[in-house]
Symmetry: C2
Subunit: 301 residues, 2 copies
């Protein structure tokens, strides 16, 4: 991967939809995933094998994975919280797995009802099994820039959790600004601490939320630091559970516009991506609220 | 001004409101300006002495300036397009004037029905008179990053216009991404060309639009280059005439959040600014669409 190549890791079908309360059909989700692949996305987090009681919206994970038409060269990771989820994911034929923890104890407790050490223990056998099979793995570190319960999160806490996930053997870490509070100086501080602890930028993805409009500013700072993988959600799905009505995940179309303008390669076609964005917007029955969704790309008349 | 001090130049009352079609009372505008000053803004572009036929919304410039309660330490620049506007602005007691041109001929023609040389000629006597009186002056260079008619705009065109305004004697240039297409690489290219031509960053303000979500990314790049003055519009007023429904001016509250998070000083209080934002939002009868307007600042419960 050259220095001008950027990976866009699409989180819309999983992270983007998981908090939607109105049921979304498996058909609509599958169509969304196909349109994302049509647009050139090569990493699409498809669903989650959490308990259907905890997240009813993704309760169709078995059916979705069974019916998913996999394209060559496209990775479809799934979130797996524990052994039970691992068994379901294996049965569904998943070959790219994500595990989940956070840099803040009160968030981890509230979000998954575990301590951070317990969440690392839960992730252990998932990553171990994946490694035995040669599957790709990713570890999420949420609340790396701020926690809705404790406030500021120190970079030492991020490094501590990150190192434990690296020791488990994950291929990649996704460092998340779960509540969308970070600015570029925070990105420099946290990424600097991670690389200073020996974790290379090639193993780091950044997961920014645009809750306060800073996501692309943070991407800019992260690009300067050598980060080359960014999470984003087409159509801006996801919202922010801690700020109702506000934006959550960085919109993939906004990220693509910026990367195009920067002359960086990523393989995604903006027009085709906006087809996927409109599909999910219509599915959710909401107008497309992303900046590029509203304004379109730039075309001279 | 220390390197950690940033000037926020508020354009809401003029640039933000000028394209609103429903009449806004002079009372509501004056209240907006007072709330902006309450929030700590020290440069508030108040109105424009263009022809009331051209921009009816700002046809109350005489009355507004007559009734404006000026605070010590606050500058209230007004836009002045020509000699006639200069006479009106002088009679109204304005002591900070802005002149206007662009880096693209088709835009200048469509926007003010002049060629670029004609617009410089029109600005000449305005700046000359201002200098005789010791008034502060600013020159706007619009479409510095792209034009809705010609497309890309080369940095040489920006430098050419900028140098002519500097030769007239303006104190400051505001370099505008009028249609919101720039990314950080464009900012580095254009600012690099300007400073390379001998125009110091202390004479440059950047005027970014958030039409495609890149405004704060561009601010981040400009801060890295040493730029310390940014235009913004409280409540995100302004929109984009070339992309109906899309965002225009960078919202002041989004800029303030970023600068606060970066640890930079600017003198504006975010909570007080959101009071001004809500006032103008209610005046316009539209929900506050800015990111920080929706999410609020960050407070730990």
């Amino acid at each position: 991967m050259a220095d001008r190549d950027v990976r866009i890791y699409e989180v819309g079908p999983r992270d983007g939809l998981q908090n939607e309360t109105a049921p979304i059909s498996t058909d609509a989700k599958l169509r969304f995933i196909q349109l994302l692949a049509d647009a050139g996305l090569r990493e699409i987090e498809a669903t989650s094998f959490v308990s259907p009681t905890a997240i009813p919206q993704l309760g169709d994970a078995n059916e979705l994975m069974a019916r998913l038409e996999r394209r060559p060269g496209v990775r479809y990771p799934v979130l797996v919280p524990n052994r039970r989820g691992l068994e379901r994911a294996q049965a569904a034929g998943a070959d790219a797995l994500c595990v989940f923890t956070a840099a803040s104890e009160p968030f981890t407790k509230a979000n998954i009802n575990m301590t951070i050490p317990e969440s690392i223990d839960a992730a252990g056998p998932v990553v171990e099994t994946a490694r035995e099979h040669g599957w790709w793995t990713r570890g999420y570190v949420s609340t790396a820039f701020g926690c809705p319960y404790q406030g500021e999160v120190g970079e030492a806490a991020v490094v501590g959790v990150a190192q434990q996930l690296i020791e488990l053997g994950v291929d990649e870490l996704s460092i998340g600004d779960t509540i969308g509070v970070a600015g570029p100086a925070d990105v420099r501080r946290v990424v600097g601490a991670l690389t200073g602890a020996g974790i290379g930028t090639d193993r780091l993805a950044m997961h920014f939320h645009d809750t306060r409009g800073t996501a692309l500013a943070n991407v800019t700072a992260a690009l300067d630091l050598g980060i080359r993988c960014f999470d984003a959600s087409t159509g801006g799905t996801g919202g922010c559970p801690y700020a109702p009505g506000a934006a959550g995940n960085l919109a993939t179309e906004d990220l693509v516009y910026l990367l195009d303008r920067e002359g960086l390669s990523h393989g995604v076609d903006l027009d085709a991506l906006l087809v996927a964005a409109r599909h999910i917007s219509e599915t959710l029955g909401r107008a497309l609220g992303t900046k590029v969704g509203q304004a379109g790309g730039w075309r001279v008349p």
